[in-house]
Structures are given as C-alpha cells and as structure tokens.
C-alpha cells in the first residue's frame, strides 16, 4: 500500500475530520486494511495501479462525509453516571464531616484531590502503562523509606509534609495496583521464569503489609491483584498459588489479633466516628443520610464493576477491574464492619469518599479520574 499515495492521502483526509485523536490509529489501520482488500480484488481483474487507486477512492466515498460521520460517532463521552454516583457519595461524606466539625480540613483534601482527578481523566492511559515499572519501583522505594519515618500513628508509618500527615501504607496500594495492571496486561506470553519473577515481586508488598499488621491495605492489595490476575488470564495454578499464599498470610494476621476487640469497641466508635466508624455514627445521628450513603456506595461499586467489563483494551479492563476492587473492598468491608457483621481492623478501614481520609481521599479521587479517562476511551482497542 506504500505505492498508493492517493489512497494514503484519502485516508488522512478522513482522519483529519475526526477530532478525537486517540482513535486515529485504529481507524487509519481499518481503512488501510479495507483499501488493501479492494486492491487485491481489483489486481486479479488486470487493472493498473492508477485505475485501482481511483476505484478504491470511488468506492470509499467522500472523505469529508465519511470523516464527519466517524467524528460524530467517536466523540469521547463523559461517564456522567460515574461522576454523579461519586458526587453523591462525596456529598454524604462531607455532610458527615460537617457534623463532626472536620469539614474544613476535608474540603482542603478534596480540593487537592480534584487536581489529580482532572489531570488523570485527561491523561492518555497508554502513558500510565508506559511508566508502569517506574510507578511500581518509586512506590516501593517510598514505602521502604516510610519504615524509617519517625511519625507513627497506631503503629503505622506516616509521612509528614507540613501540617499534612500522609498515611503512606494505605495510599501505596493505589500506585501499586496501577503499576501492576500495566505489567500484567503487557506480558501475556511471558516465559515461566519471567512469570516467576513477577509472582515474587507481587508478593513483596503483601508480605510487607502483613508484617506491619496493616490488615486493610493488605486485603485491598491482595484482592485487587487477584482480580487483575484473573482478568489477564494468568494460568490457573499461578492464580491459585497467589490466592493460597495470600490466605496463609491473612490467617497469620488474624491470629495476631489485629482486630478491634469487644471491650474497646464502643470507645473506638466514638473516637473514630469520622473515620472508621463514620457509617455507624451517621446511622445513629442521621439515618436517612446513612441510608443514602450506603445505597450510593453500593451502587457506585456495582457500576464500576459493570463498566470495567465493557472496556475493550486489556490494559484498560485490567486497571479498571483493579480500581473497582479497591473501591469494592473498602465499601463492603467498611459498611459491614460498621454494621457489626465483619471485624474492624485495629488500624482502621477507610470507606471511600465517606470517611475522613485526608491523603486517601486524594488517592480515591485520583482513581476516579483514571476511571473517567478509561471510560472516555472504552472502545479504543489499541490503547497500548
């Protein structure tokens, strides 16, 4: 097709009318393949190159019309349902913070979180995938450094930046999931030795979380990685091994009694009414808002899971599933532990968008931004 200059120019005229640049490559490839099919069928008839080119262009039709129609189809759409559900959950959270006089601080974190949310919704996902290894190693490096931090709250390391304390252990789950999504999606035909290395690297954060008694980030990380391994169709025995090792580590965690016991439960309910027990607190103070918050959060989680399956590219689907799992585990564990059906970890559970999360609110808003960006591009296959 390199000799068919006019056909190439024709295709570029079509592409020029399509404003959404990220679908250009795929449409260009499809039209080129189609032109090649026509060329093959005409070559056998005995036409010369110039006549074939003219016939291809005639059959393809007016490039401006074709480009304009494709532009109308490929206009990126914002997932308003996702934004509305997230906003409703955030609204319930801000209401709860107003009741416990933490609204001003939460609004600061919310404003800070809007920056990565907006930036990531506009960022091309393939850029995130390209830097998967960097994201992973920087996160692990910061995580390692945080062990040497002298700011500790409930035994968990924090990093202080001025008046802001960042709970690095919980927050680290987010970039780890983003990093591993890119690595898993890119290495489908890897050798056994490469897969073994990835397997071992995957276990490092999990072992680290369990070793410092961080049940909540451990479960978030474990569940997200497990779901992503299933989405990229890792061989069953590897997935089973990962699930088995994770279960053993959790059993060790449970045996170390890293959960809130009955005698100090009511004390903690009051002390942590704006974080771990925010739903419990809302249920007592404003049952209607509590019901709205719970319903919205469950709907948000369900919607994220449903939409993640509709993304065409493997990387998008994997990352989206990982993010949906982070929200799902947080929402389900937070809700059921507040209602008393599940144990509450001693280091707490952050209910996304509802609890006073500080840096975690920023992290959750960043994930929301990534999801919005992925949904805008859900029909583009060649994301990587």
């Amino acid at each position: 097709m390199n000799t068919y200059k006019r056909v190439g120019e024709y295709i570029e005229s079509v592409i020029a009318k399509i404003r959404f640049r990220e679908c250009h490559e795929e449409i260009r490839r499809e039209l080129s393949c189609h032109a090649e099919e026509i060329r093959e069928s005409l070559t056998s008839v005995g036409l010369n190159d110039s006549a074939i080119e003219s016939e291809i262009i005639r059959r393809m039709g007016n490039p401006v019309e074709l480009g304009t129609h494709l532009d109308q189809v490929h206009h990126p759409k914002i997932d308003w349902a996702l934004i509305i559900l997230a906003s409703a959950a955030l609204g319930s959270g801000l209401y709860a913070m107003a009741l416990v006089e933490k609204l001003n601080l939460q609004l600061i974190w919310f404003a800070l979180g809007l920056i990565p949310c907006l930036a990531l919704s506009l960022l091309k996902p393939k850029l995130l995938q390209r830097y998967s290894y960097s994201i992973l190693f920087v996160t692990m490096g910061i995580g390692l450094l945080s062990f040497f931090s002298n700011v500790r709250i409930e035994g968990q390391p924090y990093i202080s930046i001025g008046p802001l304390n960042i709970k690095i252990v919980d927050l680290s789950v987010i970039p780890l999931v983003v990093g591993f999504a890119g690595i898993f999606a890119a290495q489908l035909k890897e050798s056994t030795s490469r897969r073994l290395i990835n397997f071992i690297v995957t276990l490092v954060p999990l072992v680290s979380y369990c070793s410092i008694g961080s049940a909540y980030p451990a479960l978030l990380y474990f569940a997200s990685v497990l779901v992503m391994l299933i989405v990229v169709s890792w061989p069953f025995q590897w997935v089973l091994s990962y699930a088995g090792i994770g279960s053993i580590l959790f059993s060790l965690l449970v045996s170390q009694k890293q959960f809130v016991s009955g005698e100090n439960f009511s004390q903690l309910v009051h002390a942590e009414r704006y974080t771990d027990f925010v739903l419990y607190f809302l249920k007592d103070s404003t049952p209607v808002v509590s019901a709205i918050a719970t319903t919205t959060l469950i709907a948000l989680m369900s919607y994220m899971i449903l939409r993640s399956r509709q993304i065409k590219s493997l990387y998008g689907r994997t990352l989206s599933a990982g993010i949906a799992t982070i929200f799902g585990v947080g929402i389900l564990w937070g809700t059921f532990s507040n209602l008393g059906y599940l144990p509450m970890p001693a280091t707490g559970v952050n209910i996304p968008f509802l609890s006073y999360g500080g840096s975690l609110l920023v992290g959750h808003l960043a994930l929301l931004g990534i999801l919005i960006g992925l949904q805008r591009r859900k029909n583009i296959q060649l994301l990587a």
Binding site: H34, G61, H74
Partner: protein
C-alpha cells in the same frame, strides 16, 4: 434496477446486524456478502458501512477484535452481542409490520 438511497437508509443497520448474527465478519466481507445475498441490488459504500458499524459498536450492539499479527494481514472482525441480537429482533418485528402496512396500501393485500 437501482434502489432509492432513502429506502436503504433506515435498513442498513438491520442488514448489518442480520449478517453478523450469522457469523463474525470484517468490513469488506460484509459489503461483499450483502451484494451476493441481494443479487447485486445492495451496493453499500464503505462511507456508509463504517459509521454504522462504529455506531453499533459504540452502543454495545456489536463488538470487534483484530485478527492477525502486526506486519502481516490484519482484519478487524465484528460480531454481534446479546443486546445486538435483542435489537435485531425488534428491528425485524418493525420491518414485518412496516412491510405489511405498505403492501396493504400499495397492493391492496
């Protein structure tokens, strides 16, 4: 005998879904199959086909996947989804009602 373009407009989506309900196809194959099945009456232009195909995919009625390695012959195959089959069923019912009404008026059947 050439068919009026306006008559074709409303039916193109239904024709494409009908073909994809039988098997997955790529763009060029859809055009050729339509031509063969209609004894040459339907000559769909690529400029008509791709906006409709992409629109059906955007709305979730069809899905696509590339077959073939980069560097060799690649084709983008389209296949119908569950919601596409539901839409096709509706469109077929609509067509039967429409056709029956037109036949009654025009031919007095």
């Amino acid at each position: 005998m050439a068919v009026n373009k306006e008559l074709m407009k409303g039916s193109t989506g239904t024709l494409i879904l009908t073909l994809l309900a039988r098997k997955q196809m790529y763009g060029y194959e859809i055009i050729k199959e339509l031509e063969i099945l209609s004894d040459g009456l339907f000559e769909m232009r690529e400029g008509t086909l791709y906006p409709i195909l992409h629109s059906l995919e955007e709305s979730g009625h069809v899905r696509s996947n590339w077959v073939g390695e980069e560097g060799s012959r690649q084709r983008k195959y389209y296949s119908i989804t569950k919601s596409g089959r539901g839409l096709l069923k509706e469109r077929k019912q609509e067509w039967l009602s429409f056709k029956g009404a037109v036949d009654k008026v025009v031919f007095g059947n």
